[in-house]
């Protein structure tokens, strides 16, 4: 049997990582090989992007038996929604590597980064619930390692906290998955954990479905995080090393959103519609809540953490808006926010690397020393605040459209998003980057060429997607239409 493209994308980093770990090679070789691997993976995923057909089916399917006793299959596939996130992951990671280049970490760091990539792409592409859970939990370990080993501050406590918090969520999901599997078995007489099979279950009562729905939602709500499951986030972000927080914020949190759309939506369409108002409410509330909380943070990473939480709540509201605007907007904001936040964290990483300072009050006047960094920072910031011309604007606009369609008042409140991010982000920019202070920032170096390639590629994509969003959106629209019309049966929204 041949090895499929998706398998290659998922497992290439894993294999390389193990080989690197076992071979007695130094940090530099590890880093270079790791980077080359991610580039190869990027090219592979690019070929998927271009060969992707405009349908709502799963494509590039791979299907092999794994644990046949319980009908568990190694089953992979891509549709429009996962494709865009796949592209996001495979693009972001090599670019991130360029930034992490100069971090003087051991080779375990790079190996872990590769392992994370395997975990996230695996979770993204699996269509078997058990396989998904498998990757979903596995990706936690390298993250655990990266934060715990290479983090700062009270890292051990926060690592344990995030691990236990997220495992708690995913264990509830596991029970729900198993419950569904048993329900399927009872109804059809065979075991299967295929998503496409599990959606056919008809025997569950409404109460059971509701409970299972929340079983899933807890896992994803913690990962995203949705209010009030967010307290791990701030500590973790502020104690993580750059690479870890980069992965956490721009990729793993998005997988929570992805999980909701991929699994919760088709499995519990009725509950999805029924509870949509609550989640929209939570989302919009979170948008404001986290946004306001971000205002007075002293630690840059903490502020970004709140900012991320704010945006992710907004995305959550978008995917629960039950119409095509909100959902496409959410998909788009996933990408936009991942790039911008990722970029910001990376830039902040270089600041931290050079100066070793993380409190806003300890910085200032960086712009004079590092104009390129300032420029890059500004561009990412513009995307975060949703300035027209960036993809942040398109997505926020679409989500506001969607929420307005959902409920006019909610729509109006959600439009506050244009204010929320702008207020703290520009203030941060003022205090940390622009205005000169008495703080000594003489050690600050400007971006080197690798970093510039990394960050400005991101910026180009951000602006390309903002100026010509249609070219990116039309690939996911059929999928989302399929979700709304065929699964949720709510229509795309007039």
């Amino acid at each position: 049997m041949g090895i499929g493209l998706l398998t290659l994308i998922i497992f290439l980093p894993l294999v390389v990582s193990f080989v690197l770990l076992i071979l007695p090679v130094g940090m530099k070789v590890t880093r270079n090989v790791a980077f080359a691997t991610t580039v190869v993976v990027f090219l592979l995923s690019l070929s998927i992007f271009f060969r992707f057909r405009l349908t709502d089916y799963m494509q590039f399917r791979e299907f092999h038996p794994w644990i046949t006793t319980y009908g568990i299959y190694y089953s992979l596939g891509v549709d429009g929604f996962s494709m865009i996130i796949l592209m996001l992951i495979t693009t972001l990671i090599p670019l991130g590597y360029l930034f992490l280049w100069k971090t003087k970490k051991a080779k375990g760091y790079w190996a872990s980064m590769l392992l994370i990539q395997t975990g996230v792409t695996g979770a993204l592409l699996s269509l078997d619930m058990i396989l998904f859970y498998f990757f979903w939990e596995s990706m936690l370990l390298p993250v655990f390692m990266i934060i715990g080993i290479y983090g700062t501050g009270n890292r051990i406590f926060s690592t344990l906290k995030i691990t236990i918090y997220t495992i708690m969520g995913s264990l509830f999901m596991l029970v729900s998955i198993l419950y569904l599997g048993v329900a399927f078995y009872n109804e059809f007489g065979v075991w299967s954990f295929q998503l496409s099979d599990l959606v056919q279950i008809t025997t569950l009562t409404n109460l059971q479905r509701t409970l299972l729905f929340f079983g899933f939602m807890i896992a994803f709500a913690i990962k995203i995080p949705i209010f009030p499951f967010h307290t791990w986030l701030m500590q973790t972000y502020s104690n993580s090393p750059t690479g870890g927080v980069f992965i956490l914020s721009s990729i793993m949190a998005k997988l929570g959103i992805y999980g909701i759309v991929r699994f919760v939506l088709p499995l519990f369409p009725h509950q999805y519609v029924e509870f949509a108002p609550y989640f929209v409410g939570l989302g919009v509330f979170g948008l404001l809540y986290f946004g306001i909380a971000a205002l007075m943070q002293q630690n840059i990473k903490k502020m970004f953490a709140y900012s991320s939480a704010s945006h992710l709540s907004f995305i959550t509201a978008g995917i629960f808006s039950l119409n095509i605007y909100g959902m496409t907007g959410a998909a788009f904001l996933i990408v936009a926010h991942a790039m911008a936040t990722g970029g910001l964290f990376l830039l902040n990483g270089t600041i931290e690397h050079d100066l070793g300072i993380r409190s806003i009050s300890g910085l200032g006047g960086i712009a004079k020393k590092a104009p390129f960094l300032t420029l890059a920072f500004a561009l990412m910031l513009l995307c975060i605040v949703g300035l027209p011309g960036t993809n942040g604007f398109v997505s926020e606009l679409l989500i506001v459209f969607g929420l307005f369609q959902f409920n006019h008042y909610v729509g109006v409140i959600s439009a506050l998003t244009v204010l929320v991010a702008a207020s703290f982000m520009f203030w941060l920019f003022q205090r940390a980057i622009l205005v000169g202070t008495d703080n000594d920032v003489s050690k600050m170096k400007d971006l080197d060429i690798k970093e510039m390639v990394g960050i400005f590629s991101l910026a180009v994509v951000i602006f390309a997607m903002g100026i010509y969003p249609h070219w990116f959106l039309y690939k996911i629209e059929p999928t989302i239409t399929h979700y709304l019309v065929d699964i949720l049966k709510v229509g795309v929204g007039s």
């Binding site: 794994w66 046949t68 006793t69 498998f134 939990e137 236990i164 264990l171 509830f172 599997g181």
Partner: protein
């Protein structure tokens, strides 16, 4: 009389012979512990090999049925358990020799006793008669009592041994009373006769049998350290030398389960769900108690002991569901036993290897920064802990998966949820150790830790690989057994129970 029946007895015989040979050799000064361990290993491997001869078939034979009056049985089920038990013995010898060697109070008799214990356990899963089981249980138990208290000038050892002895005797007496009651009820102690009696009589006539069965079940619960019979385990496990703790925690549990599964499935086939209600609570309380106990421990040995209570709880989940879904629950127990065997044997083995020099108590703090000193050992330890915690890509996850799915299938969703919660708590105390090993800078302890050389690390490493393979292995790689293979084997073992 068929002479080829001897082949089914060989595993048992070679262990017995080995034990006696070792007993005879041990007083001889010329034989160092190292040499004795090779002798022990030889017999264990012979036993393992002869046991493996019948692997892959579904069979059930009563060797020398006439001579032994059908009291001994050799089937796939026993073969399956035999191989785990013998493997447990092998691993204990391989990993423990270092420890026995270093702590120079242990002498050659230790291998003899170990082999006697293995003998008792093999007999336990092979016996088809309750009183023989009782004797087998006593052989194993007494060997273990002695093994725990071997270093008799250490008060902790003696104390652990004595407490285990008193409580264990109490439990054994319950077993014996149970056997007597069953004998009173059915006029026989042979499992097959009992089964046929039970299937041909009304429930009203079975009171004695049920009570007797319950008493046997209580002994079983005691031996696997289920709530409320769990208290001894912490003391015995902590009191024992580490290799013995490993042997007790993993292997003995396997043997006990091997016995009780045969007893419940064959003997009480008709009545197997009469205990469901109370076992339901026992399972829940066991998990909760174990979690509470494990979470605040500072000694790793105690933590693993407490967590072994939790794992007992998981196994009991499946045991509860045997009432409604016999086959898959039994299979899941068998599978989980392997998973737990590998993980706990590995973890304890690693501890014993590390502690062999001069640590009596191995605490969390001792592992601070361990990964910088011994990266590969830390990685292996992490694998064992992850498997114990049931993180995917380890065999522990697959085992938990079966257990929970079985619970849900048989309608005990609550049990699955409690199990999940216990797992969640367990993440804390397992990951705490991983965090300590990896997240702290290198300490000044390099000299004390034995190097990554020799046989024990190799064995432990193989177990780590097996754990990973059991967690992700699949049939993609041709002709290499994966998870499906393990499950199928477990199924064969289950099926062979009903062939006699």
């Amino acid at each position: 009389m068929k002479y080829d029946d001897i082949i089914y007895l060989l595993p048992l015989l070679s262990i017995g012979v080995g034990a006696i040979v070792l007993m005879l050799l041990s007083p001889i000064k010329k034989f160092s512990i190292d040499k004795l361990s090779w002798v022990a290993l030889f017999f264990l491997i012979v036993s393992f090999a002869t046991n493996a001869l019948n692997f892959g078939m579904v069979y059930s034979i009563a060797p020398y049925a006439h001579l032994f009056s059908y009291m001994l049985v050799s089937d796939t089920f026993s073969g399956y358990f035999n191989s785990i038990i013998i493997a447990g013995g092998i691993v204990t010898v391989l990993v423990g020799t270092h420890y026995f060697d270093k702590s120079n109070m242990l002498r050659g008799e230790v291998f003899s006793l170990l082999l006697f214990a293995v003998f008792g356990m093999l007999l336990l899963v092979q016996s088809n008669e309750l009183f023989t089981s009782f004797i087998a249980l006593e052989i194993a138990s007494i060997s273990l009592y002695v093994l725990i208290g071997f270093q008799k000038n250490n008060v902790r050892r003696i104390e652990g041994s004595f407490r285990y002895l008193i409580l264990g005797s109490m439990a054994s007496i319950m077993f014996l009373l149970g056997v007597t009651l069953i004998y009173a009820g059915t006029k026989s102690t042979n499992i097959l006769n009992i089964a046929s009696y039970l299937s041909s009589h009304k429930t009203e006539d079975m009171t004695l049998t049920i009570v007797g069965g319950t008493l046997i079940l209580i002994t079983f619960l005691f031996k696997i350290a289920a709530f409320p019979f769990q208290n001894w385990s912490m003391d015995a496990y902590e009191g024992a030398p580490l290799p013995i703790t490993a042997f007790m925690a993993s292997t003995f549990k396997v043997a006990i389960f091997g016995f009780i599964l045969r007893f419940v499935l064959v003997d009480f086939h008709e009545l197997k769900n009469i205990w469901s209600d109370i076992l339901f609570y026992v399972a829940i309380l066991t998990m909760i108690y174990g979690s509470f106990l494990a979470i605040f421990q500072t000694s790793l040995k105690r933590m693993l002991a407490a967590s072994s209570i939790v794992h007992t709880g998981y196994l009991l989940i499946a045991f509860v569901s045997i009432g409604s879904i016999g086959e898959s629950a039994a299979t899941s127990i068998i599978f989980y036993l392997i998973a737990y065997f590998l993980s706990s044997m590995g973890a304890f083995g690693m501890l014993s290897y590390i502690a062999s020099s001069d640590h009596l108590r191995v605490t969390y703090e001792d592992f601070r920064g361990f990964s910088h000193v011994r990266p590969y050992m830390a990685a292996m330890m992490s694998i064992f802990l992850l498997s114990l915690a049931g993180i995917p890509s380890t065999i522990g996850f697959i085992g938990k998966f079966y257990i929970f799915i079985g619970a849900i299938e048989s309608g005990y969703t609550i049990l699955a949820i409690v199990g999940i919660l216990a797992t969640f708590v367990s993440v804390y105390y397992y990951f705490k150790l991983i965090a300590l090993m990896y997240f702290y800078p290198s300490p000044e302890m390099k000299g004390k830790i034995p190097p990554l050389r020799g046989i024990p690390p190799l064995v432990i490493g193989i177990m780590a690989i097996l754990i990973i393979w059991g967690g992700i292995g699949n049939t993609l790689v041709s002709y290499f057994p994966g998870i499906d293979f393990l499950i199928d084997t477990a199924k064969f073992a289950y099926q062979s129970l009903f062939m006699g």
